[in-house]
């Protein structure tokens, strides 16, 4: 599956596309953009609902969508060395 991520323009927060014009800070809300990924990113960027957006390869797991690459799992989790600042400490960093 393809999910979309980027940053909130004003705050810089990592956000995930949750369908339509919705973005969430939580990876668990991400939805499959499929073949519409590029079109959605273009539309959402133009509307400034996302900044520096890009598509991410992911797989559906029991916990919901999970990026295949470690970098995006760290983005979804927050810094692994500051659990107090993390968004979701249950995201498995080591493997998808």
């Amino acid at each position: 599956m393809i999910i979309l991520t980027g940053n909130d323009l004003k705050t810089g927060d990592v956000i995930w596309w949750a369908g339509e014009t919705n973005w969430s800070r939580h990876l668990s809300d991400a939805v499959d953009a499929g073949e519409e990924a590029d079109a959605v990113l273009q539309r959402e960027d133009a509307a400034r609902r996302v900044n520096a957006g890009y598509s991410v390869e992911a797989e559906q797991t029991e916990r919901g969508p999970m990026p295949l690459h470690i970098k995006d799992r760290v983005r979804a989790s927050g810094p692994t060395v500051r659990q107090d600042l993390a968004i979701d400490t249950n995201i498995p960093i080591e493997k998808a």
């Binding site: 940053n7 004003k10 810089g12 990592v14 400034r48 970098k71 810094p79 060395v81 493997k95």
Partner: protein, 544 residues
């Protein structure tokens, strides 16, 4: 310390106003990210893994108490109560909001600070020796020279779009605490046979994916020619640097490809031309700047002895306190490397405390080191015990300067969008494995440096033990390197062999240090033993 004149302040103030307008236009949708990105980078604002990151310049690593206090205020007011001191003697904030960025720069400007030229292909913040003005061995205080270069390089129109970023370091002693020869230009202030002060130029060093030690380009450049000679070095690079290939665009590649002798010939030719243009400021300008760095009013009656009867204090004193040029004073290093901590991180409260301590004990001055520690350069020996007690209460008294616990680590994949692997968790595990003070002391000076990618912000090439994080099919893997040094015995570390997992590399380091303890001869550091016996015994210990 240097104080802005009306020109400095005006430049910074106008830049803040300009950037405020740019931020507002970006938020209003009047600029795309592609248009905005080069503008925000010119003001030190990156978009990192989790948020915007702001890198604030700390010229030659020198801070007043008020400036340190402002760094704390920014951490508290705009970030998440902490900052990260970097291997370029700067500070980074990891959780900045775009809508706050101009306000932050405004606040910084009130204490004569900014984030200009902390990113982009320009001359970056100039680094220096954290013991400047305090060490007995220096030929002169290198900071006035660094300040002159800062003024020359700030907004220099010819060098705003170089082939790649450009880093200059100025030191003034044979002991190199600033990795001088691993800079694009490394300058060492020296006296010539006539007793005149000048600059020895090394050009073409650096780390990154192609590490190089800068060769000597000129033995002596007169103070009157400093700017012209730098201008000539930069012009040759600007003209011939590889703009076609980002990975070959640093000056080290140019110097390597055409050879140091040919590069030098071209610089000398350009220098001869530039000297006809009368670009150099009059000597009086360097002297005017030097007055800002005049030695503080040392207490002539201060005692020269230290009471070391408290054994815990003695451990810290023996490790973290260095000789000062005044026998009644000392240079104290505050280690930001507690066991299991994040190298270089300091909370807002800790920054406030360090500002207070600088004011109370060190003539209101502190320094940031490239090893991600803080130095109080002028502490009365009679005050060291009281200073240590206050540091200890705040968790700022790890007695590990230059020991294995005092490691450098870049932010790595926990924060950096360029990283391939995490650096900080590895640093924490090594720190915990070698937590025992006696064990660290037994190992002696051991500089361990960790980078999360080939860009080498963690200086792994210069580590007695270096670690490079790589991405191996989506899994973090760590290459181990031995034998590097960023000091006066500069050398580049060599890879030991196949990489390790995170836990594996901690075990490997322990095997290597065990071998060192078994093999070392009298007075040898880890790196000395490695240089004497070579890589093979270490490979055998790691992989055999």
């Amino acid at each position: 310390m240097y104080q802005y004149d009306k020109y400095d302040q005006s430049l910074v103030d106008s830049r803040v106003a300009e950037f405020r307008d740019q931020c507002e236009r970006r938020i209003a949708g009047e600029m795309t990210e592609d248009q905005f990105k080069p503008l925000r980078l010119q003001n030190g604002l990156y978009l990192q893994l989790h948020a915007y990151m702001l890198r604030v310049a700390i010229p030659y690593g020198t801070l007043s108490g008020d400036q340190m206090r402002m760094l704390a205020t920014i951490a508290r007011k705009y970030d998440r109560d902490y900052g990260h001191f970097t291997t370029r003697q700067n500070i980074q904030y990891n959780w900045i909001k775009l809508e706050d960025a101009a306000d932050i720069l405004q606040d910084l400007s009130t204490v004569e600070m900014h984030a200009i030229q902390t990113s982009g292909n320009c001359i970056r913040n100039i680094s220096s020796d954290q013991y400047a003005g305090a060490s007995a061995e220096e030929a002169a205080d290198p900071r006035p020279w660094a300040e002159l270069l800062r003024q020359w390089s700030s907004f220099h129109p010819e060098f705003a779009h170089l082939p790649r970023k450009f880093k200059i370091c100025v030191i003034a002693s044979d002991t190199d605490r600033a990795a001088m020869r691993l800079h694009d230009i490394g300058i060492q202030l020296v006296e010539n046979d006539a007793g005149e002060l000048g600059a020895r130029f090394y050009v073409g060093g650096g780390m990154g994916r192609t590490p190089m030690i800068a060769p000597l380009i000129r033995e002596f450049v007169s103070a009157d020619d400093l700017i012209s000679y730098c201008e000539a070095c930069l012009r040759v690079y600007n003209r011939y640097g590889r703009r076609d290939n980002k990975y070959k665009a640093r000056i080290k590649i140019l110097v390597h490809e055409i050879g140091a002798e040919e590069y030098k010939r071209q610089v000398e030719e350009e220098f001869a031309h530039i000297k006809t243009l009368n670009l150099d400021p009059p000597r009086a300008e360097l002297e005017r700047i030097s007055e800002f760095f005049a030695p503080p009013a040392f207490d002539a009656e201060a005692p020269t002895e230290v009471d070391l009867s408290d054994p815990d204090f003695r451990i810290w004193h023996d490790q973290n306190v260095a000789e000062h040029k005044n026998p009644a004073y000392a240079i104290a290093t505050i280690s930001l490397k507690p066991v299991g901590g994040i190298p270089g991180d300091a909370t807002a409260d800790q920054m406030d405390l360090m500002a207070d301590l600088a004011k109370q004990y060190s003539f209101d001055e502190c320094r940031v080191t490239h090893s991600q520690n803080i130095v109080l350069p002028h502490v009365r020996k009679a005050d060291l015990y009281a200073l240590w007690q206050k540091l200890d209460e705040a968790g700022l008294a790890p007695a590990n300067l230059d020991l294995i616990g005092d490691m450098i680590a870049c932010p790595g994949l926990d924060y950096c969008s360029l990283a391939n692997a995490r650096s900080i968790p590895l640093a924490q595990k090594i720190s915990q494995r070698f937590a025992d003070q006696q064990r660290q002391k037994e190992l002696g000076e051991l500089k361990l440096k960790i980078s999360g990618c080939i860009n080498a912000c963690g200086h792994h090439h210069a580590g007695h033990i270096g670690i490079l994080g790589v991405d191996r099919k989506g899994v973090e893997n760590y290459q181990l390197l031995f034998g590097g040094s960023g000091a006066e015995d500069v050398s580049l570390a060599k890879i030991t062999g196949p990489g390790f997992t995170e836990d594996g590399v901690v075990d490997a380091i322990e095997k290597a240090t065990d071998l060192y303890l078994a093999q070392r001869e009298e007075g040898e550091r880890f790196v000395d033993t490695y240089r004497r016996i070579g890589m093979e015994p270490f490979k055998e210990a790691l992989y055999g």
